[in-house]
């Protein structure tokens, strides 16, 4: 029971991350290595620039109903800015070039944060009320874990509704699958890509918020680990497949938690080696991903 919650909450983070990467990958075949730095940025947006060890909270003290939109907006804003200034110039460049450009961009964001905030991890208390345990079905579970899972599910539902019900969502899904065809049907490329970046940035901010409330830390490298897992989830989920990304994210989280639980103590530090081994196996048996959209072909 408890393990299930553990797996779900870790999986939620990976799923949200994978979704953010898959959205952008879908519309412009960009593996966005700056995603992790957008996560960190959204958290630091809550603080005043300072190189002291004690975090000077700026927007972090807002009540939650203002705090959450603020963070999401920061993530979306930065992401859109990246697209406007940088990625627009790389439309149609080969994937390796775009990838390295995104990596360089992430590098710039990271060191920009370092310049303002120093490399020392800062401690912040976000939404402290969430650090209390609650009783669910006989298990005492941190409230934050519950909220993480619920929020992820809510985000997933909202996103699904957005993608299914609205015109913009429909255009985005069409563009993710076949960008040129969508344009030939009058779908505006810039708008869709910008929308994808905004959504992806907001998702990154959501992860940042969850991570920061969970760990109580703002670290310029905090987004990196989640992004790597999310990146892997995107690929094993099936390229450009949003449901696949989510499914794979949850599976990776579950694999990680289950292995931590089942492996003997001596093998536990090697947990990640087992997880990555499993990733290789999945890739070999399903190179097209867990959920490959019918009729799509790899365009990388």
């Amino acid at each position: 029971m408890q393990t299930l919650f553990d797996a779900l909450s870790l999986g939620s983070l990976y799923a949200l991350g994978a979704l953010g990467i898959a959205l952008i990958f879908g519309v412009m075949r960009l593996v966005n290595f700056a995603h992790g730095d957008v996560i960190s940025f959204s958290v630091f947006a809550l603080l005043w620039p300072s190189t002291d060890a004690v975090a000077l909270v700026f927007a972090g003290d807002l009540p939650w109903f203002l705090l959450i939109p603020f963070v999401l907006l920061m993530g979306a804003g930065l992401s859109v800015l990246c697209e406007l200034i940088i990625f627009r110039r790389f439309r149609g460049a080969n994937p390796a070039t775009m990838m390295i450009a995104s990596f360089a961009l992430g590098f710039v964001i990271r060191y920009f944060l370092l310049m303002l905030f120093s490399s020392r991890p800062k401690s912040i208390s976000l939404l402290p009320a969430l650090s209390q345990p609650v009783e669910i079905l006989g298990a005492r579970i941190p409230l934050l874990q519950v909220i993480t899972i619920v929020a992820t599910i809510a985000i997933l539902f909202a996103l699904t509704a957005f993608l299914k019900r609205t015109r913009f969502g429909l255009e985005m899904r069409a563009a993710a699958e076949n960008f040129t065809m969508a344009r030939m049907l009058g779908v505006r490329a810039n708008r869709v890509i910008m929308g994808a970046f905004a959504l992806s940035g907001a998702l990154a901010a959501a992860i940042g918020l969850i991570l920061a409330s969970q760990t109580g830390t703002a670290d310029i490298q905090m987004g990196g680990a989640v992004m790597l897992m999310a990146f892997i989830a995107t690929v094993i989920g099936g390229l450009g497949s949003l449901p696949g990304a989510v499914l794979a994210g949850f599976l990776l989280g579950a694999a990680s938690v289950v292995m931590q639980t089942l492996l003997p103590i001596d093998a536990r530090p090697f947990r990640d080696a087992f997880v990555y081994g499993a990733v290789i196996l999945v890739l070999i048996f399903r190179p097209q991903g867990l959920i490959a959209a019918p009729g799509t072909k790899e365009r990388v």
Binding site: R167, L170, M184, L185, G186, A293, P294, G295
Partner: protein
């Protein structure tokens, strides 16, 4: 007045020249077949018109406006609807969603669905099979059904010109017949202009209308399809090719 006018179009890919100095006009309401062997540059020409790969030199006008170098979405919004080769359906979307993709450009978010409803009904009327399966994934349709879907999808954008690349490719002859039957009927109904690329000229001769024969990136012949079928030039053009 011509709806579409191409002048001196040349298209290069690196050192390879796919289309050389092609020029022709298309009158509103006309039906034009572009035929010719594989590699003649037909598809390149269509992609240039749709704005996907702009020509290296030359100029394209549509409805009196210069559209050379415009983006595909701008050109689509001006009324050019493209049905590319290979029936590029959105496999993971349902049929109805496929049809709806192209309707967004004429509507605001609020009245989008209601405005598209009439169009949708019209397309379903033309292709009843699409209505029957409207909630299944497009990737699961047969080739003929997909062809109907992409034509229907092109119609949904309310175009002035539909450009179709190889509508008969990979379809059984009787399905092809059906597809053409619908196209002709549509043209009559809606005063559509049709630009159809086919490898073989037989279909053009059956349907009638104007035909352009291309080879090696150049226009060899331009004239009435039925008349051309008998001409010696046509035979020569075809016999020049085909040693492979």
């Amino acid at each position: 007045m011509s709806l579409l006018a191409l002048s001196n179009i040349t298209i290069r890919y690196g050192r390879l020249t796919a289309v050389r100095n092609v020029a022709f006009n298309l009158i509103e309401g006309e039906i034009l077949f572009i035929t010719g062997p594989n590699g003649a540059g037909k598809s390149s020409l269509l992609r240039a018109i749709a704005g996907v790969t702009p020509p290296s030199s030359g100029r394209i006008d549509f409805g009196g406006q210069d559209i050379t170098g415009r983006t595909p979405e701008d050109i689509a919004r001006m009324g050019v609807s493209m049905v590319p080769e290979g029936r590029e359906v959105f496999g993971s979307l349902t049929i109805q969603e496929n049809l709806m993709v192209g309707t967004g450009m004429h509507a605001r978010e609020g009245n989008w669905r209601s405005r598209a409803a009439a169009e949708l009904e019209a397309v379903y009327e033309t292709f009843p099979i699409l209505k029957e399966r409207r909630h299944s994934q497009a990737g699961l349709l047969s080739g003929g059904q997909q062809q109907m879907l992409v034509i229907g999808r092109a119609l949904m954008t309310n175009p002035r010109l539909i450009a179709i690349d190889e509508p008969s490719l990979g379809l059984a002859p009787n399905i092809t017949d059906q597809v053409y039957e619908r196209l002709i009927a549509l043209r009559r109904h809606r005063a559509l202009t049709l630009l159809i690329v086919e490898q073989s000229s037989t279909r053009a001769q059956m349907v009638g209308g104007r035909m352009i024969l291309m080879r090696g990136g150049e226009v060899l012949l331009d004239g009435d399809a039925r008349a051309m079928g008998q001409s010696e030039a046509m035979q020569a053009a075809y016999f020049g090719y085909g040693d492979h």
